[in-house]
């Protein structure tokens, strides 16, 4: 709980550490990606988008998994903290899904010759993005905040269960059509340096996500404090 901005609570200390860690990590990632890893021969320089692309989608899926778990917990035992947790992770998940979609489109242009191919993974990711954007919008439509939180949790559960079904259905739908030429980068024949960089990027992005989530949750906590202060007006 933040009583005053001057209090140097351990929480602020952890936040600062995470923030600085994420920033340094991101700069380190740039060095690894642009200097350390070799140039991929077939795709050229643009293949280097792969590292942030994979780290973003990993974060997005991890975020939505956390939203799913928190939503179930909320429905079993409603609490403001659980809702804040779910909401913050959903927002960060949407941010990273956005990065995934945009980086994927930019990568796709020189490789596939088009920004967007209706391939199974792209389509699923776009639908995922749409579902969680609606999740985030939902409470603002409700007059009763408690109902808004509860309904968001319902969508948090359905949205996540829906993802694999959507993916399967889109995949099978696309089996009728020519597959886009996707360079199989995730094969085991990836050079070790590329693998290290991928793992490093995933770790750094996760730290970044945790930092952003804590910031996001802090806003809601401060808002709750504000509401409490106002309701006990003298």
């Amino acid at each position: 709980m933040l009583r005053s901005k001057h209090a140097s609570s351990p929480r602020r200390w952890v936040d600062d550490l995470l923030g600085v860690g994420a920033l340094v990590g991101m700069v380190g990632a740039l060095w690894l990606i642009f200097v350390y890893t070799p140039l991929e021969l077939v795709q050229g320089a643009v293949q280097k988008v792969f590292y942030i692309h994979l780290a973003s989608i990993w974060n997005a899926y991890a975020s939505f998994l956390l939203v799913f778990v928190a939503s179930i917990l909320y429905l079993r035992r409603p609490s403001a903290a659980t809702d804040r947790f779910a909401r913050a992770w959903a927002e960060i998940g949407v941010v990273f899904t956005t990065i995934t979609l945009i980086s994927g489109a930019i990568w796709g242009k020189p490789i596939w010759g088009t920004y967007w191919s209706w391939d199974a993974r792209l389509t699923t990711t776009l639908l995922l993005w749409l579902i969680y954007v609606v999740y985030l919008m939902l409470p603002s439509f409700m007059d009763d905040p408690e109902r808004g939180r509860r309904y968001a949790a319902v969508v948090g559960v359905i949205g996540f269960v829906d993802v694999p079904i959507v993916h399967m259905s889109v995949r099978w739908w696309r089996t009728l059509h020519p597959d886009p030429i996707v360079a199989n980068l995730e094969g085991p024949d990836l050079p070790a340096s590329m693998w290290y960089t991928v793992l490093y990027c995933i770790v750094v992005f996760t730290v970044l996500a945790v930092y952003l989530v804590r910031q996001r949750m802090q806003i809601d906590e401060l808002r709750a404090t504000l509401a409490r202060l106002r309701s006990t007006a003298v």
Partner: protein, 222 residues
């Protein structure tokens, strides 16, 4: 008869009774469905062999949009007349209420389709009035109605009312839409192969029914 089944029937009968008096749901849904078939054809200028390719997609878009229009009404109607509170006070399980509402929605949708399918067959010249397509229609409709019943209860409580329903229903029911369109295409043109869509539709329905049944109490309570 089991008491639960009797309660379900009461809920269904109530909805049908309200509809026979108000007539603001079926008429709107039916007119809208026929109208969209016409509008789609005008907008896309459908002639020749392309009809066979895009026909199933048009049919299912029409059904999906008409379903959203209709299902949005059922709970908003309860909300406007304050009858939802009555239903919730009534001594019955939330599951009973869900099944009753779902069945009522299904009946409305099937009536809409009973008009839309023949109209589609005539206007687009595609043989959709055959047992396989009817089975697919039943399965696809069940998928839309299941999540539609859950989400329309949510939408009715919102400031946006039924305008919220498509935002919730369209992205989540994508598997049902794809499954229904593909299954219909395969029946109409058996040269194309593909996975067993009818079985998949069945599986989607089982998953959605379980989810909606479990979550419904969280949507109507409070």
């Amino acid at each position: 008869m089991m008491p639960a089944a009797r309660q379900v029937l009461t809920v269904v009968r109530k909805d049908l009774l309200v509809e026979t008096r108000a007539r603001d749901l079926l008429n709107v849904m039916l007119t809208f469905a026929v109208l969209s078939l016409v509008i789609f054809n005008l907008a896309l200028d459908l002639r020749g062999p392309v009809v066979r390719e895009v026909g199933p997609g048009l049919l299912w878009l029409t059904i999906a949009f008409a379903a959203i229009l209709g299902m949005g009404r059922t709970f908003v109607r309860e909300h406007e007349r304050g009858t939802l509170t009555g239903l919730l006070i009534a001594p019955m399980d939330r599951g009973v209420l869900f099944v009753g509402k779902l069945l009522a929605n299904l009946i409305f949708l099937f009536v809409m389709e009973a008009v839309t399918l023949p109209m589609f067959a005539v206007l687009f010249g595609l043989p959709v009035l055959q047992p396989a397509v009817l089975l697919i229609t039943a399965l696809g409709t069940l998928g839309f109605a299941t999540l539609g019943t859950l989400f329309s209860a949510m939408a009715a409580q919102s400031r946006a009312r039924e305008a919220l329903l498509p935002l919730l229903l369209l992205p989540t029911t994508v598997p049902v839409l794809i499954g229904s369109v593909q299954a219909t295409s395969h029946v109409l043109d058996d040269t194309v192969g593909g996975p067993p869509w009818i079985g998949l539709l069945l599986a989607f329905n089982v998953i959605f029914l379980t989810l909606a049944f479990l979550l419904f109490e969280h949507v109507v309570d409070g």
